[in-house]
Symmetry: C2
DNA sequence: CTGAAAGCGCTAACAA
DNA sequence: TTGTTAGCGCTTTCAG
């Protein structure tokens, strides 16, 4: 059962006009007389005529909808980005179809295929942690599907890219820990293959270097699913904390890594910041209510979504193929709270 | 610019067949010879043929997409519900278009209109807090658009409804506070017009009654935007806490009310649970990491989404008009944590 | 077993 | 200024 919509044909019949006249009148074409327009417009309003977007899509070969592929909508960063995307998409007459990869390569491929088969006009993408092979993306892109990458970037694709200054964010967070007296700083890191992982790791290393702290590979652990799977965080955390000498602080490179590390500490009676100070990437709006309140690196997620959507729609609506692509790099902001409070001098233990 | 898809016509031309034969072969029609089928299928796979869903929609007068209207996707309850909805929608070949009302009546009307004009086959709806006039919904429903309500229900519409046992959840939460020694229990409540508000209020009142505690109207404050606007929570909380005698516990009727009340307490140095014990509805998965860890009433959001989507797709796909509607009521679960710890005896103050 | 043709709602070239 | 017609990709009578 489906509700029958009014069509142009109905109007034409009722008014004794042809469908093309009605069509033109509705679209305010110059070739239609003012009177006819008036009659048509009035009648259309009266019977609440709405053009059928499907027929339009078929005709124009575009659907006025854009796809979004992210790992998870139940992630504050992504839900905020999506809000930004929607705000500009809707204002430009596009609707938005959201797909989640749940950090699975297979699901990402399926999602992209699904969206493409639903005739989206373009796609906004933040790849899954599992994705190492990008052919499902580059293929569609090569076939002409406009794609804009945000947050987790793919280097091998030539298009607009929107992301934050991950290096700077990580550098600032790590430097903050160092300034607060921490010297042995671990890094709970995202999947090794992601662009953001590499950049954040580089920022972390540079901060250590600039403060004459030697980089220790054993202080870095990767979580292949970005913290989405608790067991991975559990394992990585355990390994980090059993290092000798023990880390006195931790920088977490992703939202779920940060919160799941806190979960780990709570479960294992590790006291923050006494046993270990913590700062991490997070876009949760509750971090100040956590125990202890959490120092974070926060991304301008809403703005990122807006920019990415604008760039995508630019490509879609440009007459000629766009060949000049830009990287939009936004700042990350550090919020300092209790979890990274200055290190307190402790009774001298066996470690020097 | 748009990437050109392969059509049935291309296949027909390449194979020297008619489009109808190809169409039938692809759909495994009985009237096509096995050999022809084989050739067509093979060639189709080879050139990666995908049927154009837009053409199909136009023909079949259905889009195989369903709309979701919720107040906010950046709300754990709704993002979890959406996951449930998507899981069944995708498995049944539907895609999902999400719209947010952001608790605004106007935006809700626009969203519904937008979705309807995008030819959705049906709609899942949880109304905004502001919505008191339901004609935008009942109109579409009367015109034949299948609608299923979830969480926040509209009584005046005859359709499937999926929600939790709000009365029970509120009753259990309030009873828990009473058992832990609290007697003067405030209720931070959602918009007065919502179904869930009335039901939760009723559960709260019944629990008081069953324990011989007199209901005091001054102990209930409504937040017209369900806690989304912090100032409303701030104002309501201030009013509640200045009552004499002061409340010793608070039951919050919605996710954002609960967390924003905690924010209020933190900002105003109100200690939980010493100054006031707290339990509230919330689907956040971080409540045990808050300070103090938060006692909550939790909804089976994912399951609700699944059920709602199944019911909607049932209506959509039923041959005859569905007239027999059901209310699916799911249990709410109470999780007890520190924020509602048993009341400690205190030095006798001026209150008896 | 296969093909020709109509039609879903709309637009646009072409005719009048 | 308006009407006729073809066509977007697909399914589906109706003919062969």
């Amino acid at each position: 059962m489906k509700f029958e919509a009014v069509t142009i044909k109905d109007i034409a019949k009722a008014l004794g006009l042809s469908t093309s006249t009605v069509s033109r009148a509705l679209r305010d074409s110059y070739e239609i007389s003012p009177e006819t327009k008036k009659v048509v417009l009035e009648y259309a309003r009266e019977i609440n005529y709405r053009p059928n977007p499907i027929a339009l899509s078929l005709k124009e070969k575009r659907s006025r909808s854009i796809g979004i592929v992210v790992s998870e909508i139940a992630n504050s960063f992504f839900s905020q980005s999506i809000n930004g995307i929607e705000s500009v998409a809707h204002s430009k007459g596009y609707n938005v179809i959201i797909a989640q990869s749940l950090e699975s390569y297979e699901r990402e491929v399926m999602s992209m295929q699904f969206l493409a088969s639903r005739s989206i006009d373009g796609c906004l993408l933040s790849v899954s942690t599992e994705t190492k092979d990008f052919t499902h993306i580059t293929d569609l892109h090569a076939r002409g599907l406009p794609i804009v990458c945000f947050d987790r970037i793919i280097e091998s694709i030539d298009t607009h890219k929107v992301f934050i200054d991950n290096f700077q964010g990580a550098y600032d967070a790590t430097t903050h820990l160092i300034r607060n007296g921490y010297r042995r700083i671990a890094n709970l890191s995202n999947a090794e293959n992601l662009s953001i992982t590499r950049e954040r790791l580089a920022g972390y290393r540079k901060a250590l270097e600039d403060n004459d702290i030697e980089f220790d590979e054993r202080m870095v652990k990767y979580c292949p699913h970005g913290g989405m799977i608790y067991d991975e965080v559990d394992k990585a955390s355990t390994e980090l904390l059993k290092q000798k000498p023990k880390p006195d602080a931790l920088f977490a490179s992703a939202d779920k890594l940060t919160t799941n590390f806190m979960r780990y500490c709570k479960a294992n009676k590790v006291i923050i910041p006494t046993d270990i100070a913590v700062i991490g990437f997070s876009n949760l709006d509750l971090t100040e209510l956590l125990s202890p309140s959490l120092s974070v690196v926060r991304q301008p997620a809403f703005t990122m979504g807006q920019i990415a959507a604008e760039l995508l729609i630019n490509i879609i609506e440009s007459k000629r193929a766009v060949t000049d692509f830009e990287n939009r790099i936004l700042p990350a902001e550090v919020f300092v709270r209790e979890s990274s409070a200055p290190k307190r001098k402790q009774p001298v233990l066996k470690e020097a």
